[in-house]
Symmetry: C2
Subunit: 350 residues, 2 copies
């Protein structure tokens, strides 16, 4: 018997984080009697008078949203990070009790005034405006002296803890570089110093040549299931040019980014013909005022669905206490995404 | 304005993993319009003819469960790890594509023949038999040459991906030491070499003196919300003596462990008067044949509920892409658990 990666349990290494993940290719076959998710495919109105993100409506804090036409951002009324706090620090008992104040701020980014849309259902032009707003926010937030990291992300779908279906994302900006980008910074730096090229330039070169994990590609961007993916249909959108932050993209690249973002999410929705839930976010250079040629920006998508529109992958016991684990291979997942139509299932001609 | 940990956002350091977590004490106040969980408090029969874990029933693979009286273990019919695989390895393109075969095996541990019970509803004597079975499995699995780590864990509740309410846990045993215990090994070793005592001996000494994060204590064990807890009501059960693995506990300590395990889970159930979901598991020395005086075994509980029996904490966008984050302090959570009755809500006299 010869070892092969389609059938036998193995571990794969994530060179960005330096961590291994457990792959159990044969396991998707087990029967499922556990929790199933609700599908909420109600028809939503274009404008919902009760939605605190719709144009013209009043938010909890009493503020009134402007009559915005494409995108709109504001400070989160229930921010996890605050700007106006005193600083403080604790370090006691041989470093066993360490704490530090953390300044920051949280913003909400409305993608569109249309309450009934999601990214895959929006026009590319509208998505491009989202990219522009991200650039503006990354610049403005990053310019504050004390802000060293700007995390742009979206929780899509109620299964991902999203409490309002109005298309929106968030930005949390803060003093410290959080754990996930910090791990990626270390490994990208080491690779760049050794090879003089970014880790992801070398990586996507091989991926594009091989094609097995690529799900979408255009002139400036590639979308793929990383070799070391954890979530069942995890993907990354990566610019082909080694760009360290979103604001370094050219106008043409930003257009190509919007197209890749739409195409990937259309394919996602088509897999189970349901609005595909995920958390997505951009990993890019810190805003510490330094140059970061080692950083190659990329957008990560972590979708939880595994077997159907209602059965997700649970990252529980073993995964929480021991190690990230997946039940299908990256290659199987990539084939499944790639083969999907580039036309959204709701927009197909009958 | 002076900084204080009850009101201001801050980060805390986990000396076991070497990672920081984000604490946002003020945030539990935000309103919740998102997903709510189902509560399944149906009356279950003592024996369910359709349950593949009940005594005397036939499992998917055709095997018949014995007529067991207390505990019972068997190899998982849908194991994520397999013993009988060839070995293989890949390391290509500057280490960007690395994979390795991983041998192991997965077992299921039935805690009781009673289909209708859970740990907090079981007698201490029955729980003690679970501890004994864990010891037996840790020894037998660990003795296999190629097994270097034995992960004992339980997923409790459908919200934690548990697909059968029959009280049971799992063991995944494997070649490599998985990520979470590997991180803890490094930091415990460093601490032990520097101070000549285990990290957790020094830590629990301070916790027991201060008392603010302790939720239960007996002669041999303490249960507490760690200073660096991530999950809302996260706790650890730690032996007071520096014991590196479960098999090193004395008979008396094993009894005290069973009592602590029951008392903690009774308090959990009493918080929202619902069977409290969690993933729990034991972190202890690897089974690599070496002595590990630096390892101080402990059992971790990661429960997802936050605000009520139906609203959990979502570890999504920011948490997945950036950093672990919590919405209440460890001290608030500890007070809430500690104040619960030691009598299970279902067993209270009317
Ligand atoms: O083996 P089970 O109980 O079917 O599966 C459950 O626990 C496993 C170990 O934590 C997870 O990998 C699965 O996602 C979860 O559904
Ligand atoms: O800020 P929201 O959308 O209310 O909250 C959601 O996203 C946050 C950031 O990932 C998480 O901390 C919350 O648990 C989740 O419910």
């Amino acid at each position: 018997m010869k070892f092969n990666f389609e059938d036998h349990p193995h571990r794969r290494y994530n060179p960005l984080t330096g961590e291994w993940i457990q792959v159990s290719p044969h396991r998707a076959k087990r029967p499922w009697q556990g929790q199933v998710e609700k599908i909420e495919e109600e028809q939503r109105p274009e404008h919902d008078p009760d939605c605190y993100l719709c144009a013209g409506n009043t938010r909890v804090g009493g503020e009134v949203n402007p009559d915005y036409k494409d995108t709109f951002s504001f400070q989160n009324d229930f921010a996890a990070l605050l700007e106006d706090i005193p600083s403080g620090e604790v370090n006691e008992h041989n470093g066993l009790f360490r704490a530090k104040s953390e300044r920051g701020l949280c913003k909400v980014i409305c993608f569109s005034p249309r309450h009934d849309l999601t990214i895959p259902e929006m026009e590319v032009g509208g998505i491009r405006k989202v990219v522009d707003l991200w650039c503006k926010e990354y610049t403005e937030l990053g310019e504050r002296d004390y802000i060293n990291h700007v995390q742009i992300f979206e929780n899509k779908g109620s299964v991902m803890g999203c409490s309002n279906p109005h298309p929106h994302g968030q930005i949390w900006a803060q003093e410290s570089v959080p754990l996930e980008p910090a791990k990626k910074a270390v490994n990208q730096k080491e690779y760049f110093e050794k090879h003089g090229r970014t880790l992801l330039s070398d990586y996507i070169k091989v991926e594009i040549e091989q094609g097995t994990r690529v799900v979408y590609e255009n002139e400036h961007f590639v979308a793929l299931v990383p070799y070391w993916a954890v979530w069942p249909f995890e993907t990354m959108i990566v610019p082909k040019r080694a760009v360290s932050k979103i604001t370094d993209l050219t106008e043409e690249e930003k257009d190509a980014y919007a197209v890749a973002y739409k195409q990937l999410t259309v394919k996602y929705d088509n897999i189970f013909e349901v609005s595909f839930p995920y958390s997505a976010g951009i990993h890019q250079a810190p805003t510490d005022g330094e140059d970061h040629p080692e950083w190659h920006m990329h957008m990560c998508f972590y979708p939880p669905l595994l077997r159907s529109a209602t059965v997700k992958k649970f990252m529980v016991g073993y995964e929480m206490l021991a190690n990230a684990q997946r039940d299908i291979t990256a290659e199987t997942a990539a084939a499944r995404i790639r083969e999907q139509s580039s036309v959204h299932y709701k927009q197909r001609e009958l």
